[in-house]
Symmetry: C2
Subunit: 480 residues, 2 copies
């Protein structure tokens, strides 16, 4: 690991990390009680065993956990939460640990509650087109289950092999098919979750319509483990479409990309995905994944995917022929070529990480202001640079939702000024400081700027009502 | 109005209605303050002016309002709510008053806050495919706005000319296109709402992805005016599809209807709607809307609609030819014939009301238990009858979601035993006591049976946190 990683970047300075050495007798008693619940093998206290749960995958955020506990059932989760409520010790739910805003990085003496052993898998019900799975099941596994039963799953993202159902629901993760099927929350037909007092809410019947009281699952979606620990989910599946096609399209600018997106969205019924890459993203991916799909360099690239039961290639070709602003396009209509285009797009995040520790922001901006936004961040990055060192801006993301991932390389990871400038621009343009990654610990001081006082007050009132002792993911979203 | 309607059927006996006569000086002062906010013309206190706001459209539920106040802006709503918070006087938000569970029927000395004057209409934004409208705008008007701009709106329901945006969001109304586009909540890209202290939450930026904090709009959707007064909504529009087709299909039973629905859902990409009618529903509609589309009588009928940019008729014909269980089918591929089929389906509720005051339940049951459910309700209704008088059961609804509207005619409207028996069966089968109409006042004593203690406790904690004085729609969902 690179130097400096034992700092927790972007966290409020007040949130100090506790040492796990020298636990007193109360703490020892707590650990013994944990061991009674899950068995001693599943309470990890040794630093080397805890290590993988204490740092995020980008290496930007590191914390310290009092212990890592790995329950295997909802009952065990409930017992752990009850024990935490009794002792006032915080718990940080953690799924595949693929988060990007330190939402699952422990601080303040909390334990990590890893959901990875919650791997129960129900049978796919073809009548409701749903399946119930444990929170620790990965997205890739859900995709497999769906496929084996003749369906598909509505969410796909690059971290599919590690990201869990629980974690992606807790952050309302998006990915590349939001345009067609919505974010993770939209796949949720029901949830099982443990509340802050250890009681269990079971809404897994999977009814597509259920107006009996408040939509608690909808509130828990995106609440980042601060209101409940998700233990299982009833997921809706979507029909599997037999054929897909994709296009890699060079356009002049982000403005032209938006124009193309709006046109295609109106005309292409089979639209599955609309992704954006700037030239830096394409160049970085090309360095790792072979030659650029289109040799000609362009400031902006759009990746389009369509899917249908009949071959959607003709429809895609027609739409692109009629569209304005297409400089050049490559169509992929066989699976190998389509996958190659996606590998290129999905390789961007890893290619960035290979260059160093980036400033990494996930934001959304209204589509009609996306061009203004890109101009603004270029200016911000330019102003941060010196003659000797010019920061490196990489922008890519989910065009249809105005959701861009903004990465800046070549700036001290501890220097939050560039993040602040970019996020302020987002707020000024009516955008969101977090589109699909959540607030976590990295962006919590931004939440009060992103939401006005009444809105923030309502969120805090809900948090206090459902978690009066503040034991659920303390420090995430709100100050600990 | 028929006799007995001054009773509020199905309400808890404890929730007495107050007389509005003999208001003391405090109450007079309150009314003068209301008049200062909205002008004296928009504070209705005379019984004849209040009357239309105090009874639901079926005539089953009647209450009494201290006054009806009709604000024209979010600021006026905020001032009214603040005044209510100061005086402790409850307010019942009311949209088009098309609800079916007395969710907008005033009780306990509350005022009615009618949202019908909140009719601001923004320009349709073709880039985001969204529009911002006031809570009092009707669904029909939103459909028109969408159509004029080359889009469509995802929700359609029989009460479109009266039902408002605010009311349909507050109940998360469904309608006939849920299968394709989801319920009303799914059309919500953002909300403006007034909280119980009169503060205003503005989340109308319309970002398709916004992970900055809790999804307050998702919590407000379906909360029936108990957490906030919705004043405006940012609504997503959907692409307008050029062609549609429909089929009226006779099948043997509700079980066969479910089987057909599952098959069509898998194979028909262009599926828009899947509706169910039992023989009683078809017969009632036929008596008012002309001859049955299929002469042959069958226990169950399915209405299917498909829509696409190309003519979807061939696809529909192919799917029905391949499907099992089709006894007979009529295909409508021109607009006049399609509308005739829908008029038939949509005429059922009115045809029932013309026969008398029904017991009217909106429930959802898992699809694989729908046949068991129908057997059960037939048994319940049979057991309630005598040799002299046999109750009349009419069942219709939204097949794809297992959402049935169960109407029973010929039973004393005050006799809640039949509702209790049917709703208990729903709970026993893992269904929902309210699919798309909400809990309101009519079903509130069922909410504790529908949800377990932890779940109900969490809902109540949220209610108390956001409305500590209990002024927002007191008596709806929870006891007043």
């Amino acid at each position: 690991l690179a130097a400096g990683l034992d700092l927790v970047h972007g966290l409020d300075s007040g949130a100090g990390l506790v040492s796990v050495a020298g636990l007193g007798s109360v703490a020892g008693e707590f650990l013994r009680e944990l061991a009674k619940i899950v068995g001693p093998d599943h309470v990890l206290t040794a630093p080397d065993l805890r290590a993988g749960y204490e740092v995020d995958w980008t290496g930007r955020f590191r914390g310290a956990a009092r212990a890592v506990v790995r329950p295997a059932s909802t009952t065990q989760v409930a017992d752990i939460v009850r024990l935490c409520a009794e002792t006032g010790i915080g718990l940080v739910p953690q799924g595949g640990n693929t988060g990007l805003v330190a939402g699952a990085v422990p601080e303040g003496g909390a334990i990590v509650l890893s959901t990875r052993r919650l791997r129960d898998i129900g049978a796919v019900d073809p009548i409701s087109a749903q399946v119930t799975v444990g929170a620790g099941v990965t997205i890739a596994r859900v995709q497999e289950l769906a496929s084996e039963a003749g369906f598909a799953f509505g969410v796909d993202l690059a971290s599919r092999d590690s990201a869990t159902v629980g974690g992606t629901i807790a952050t309302n993760a998006g990915g590349t098919h939001v345009l067609r099927h919505g974010s993770m929350g939209r796949q949720v037909a029901g949830l099982g979750a443990v509340l802050a007092d250890g009681s269990v809410v079971n809404r897994t019947s999977g009814l597509p319509k259920d107006g009996a009281g408040y939509d608690l699952p909808a509130l828990i979606v995106g609440s980042e483990g601060t209101l409940a620990v998700i233990t299982e989910a009833r997921l809706r599946l979507v029909p599997r479409l037999r054929r897909r096609a994709a296009a890699w399209i060079a356009v002049e600018s982000v403005g032209a990309a938006v124009e193309l997106a709006v046109e295609l969205r109106q005309g292409l019924e089979s639209l599955n995905a609309l992704e954006y890459l700037d030239d830096a993203a394409v160049s970085l991916a090309a360095a790792r994944h072979g030659p650029r799909p289109i040799e000609r360099q362009s400031d902006a690239t759009v990746l389009v995917e369509v899917a249908a039961n009949r071959d959607p290639t003709p429809e895609l070709v027609d739409a692109l022929s009629a569209a304005t602003g297409v400089l050049d396009a490559v169509i992929a209509s066989d699976e190998v070529s389509i996958r190659r285009l996606w590998a290129f797009r999905e390789g961007v995040a890893e290619a960035i990480s290979a260059e160093g520790i980036p400033h990494k922001l996930d934001v959304a901006v209204p589509l009609d202001r996306l061009a203004t936004f890109e101009d603004g961040i270029k200016r911000i990055v330019r102003e941060r640079g010196s003659a000797a060192e010019q920061p490196w801006l990489v922008v890519f993301g989910h065009l249809a939702e105005g959701n861009l991932h903004v990465d800046v390389l070549g700036v001290d990871p501890d220097d939050a000024a560039i993040d602040d400038a970019i996020l302020q621009l987002v707020v000024d343009l009516g955008g969101s400081v977090s589109a699909e990654h959540g607030i976590g610990r990295a962006k919590r001081r931004w939440l009060t700027r992103a939401r006005d006082a009444a809105d923030y007050g309502a969120m805090l009132a809900i948090k206090r009502a459902l978690d009066p002792k503040g034991i659920l993911n303390p420090g995430a979203m709100f100050p600990g």
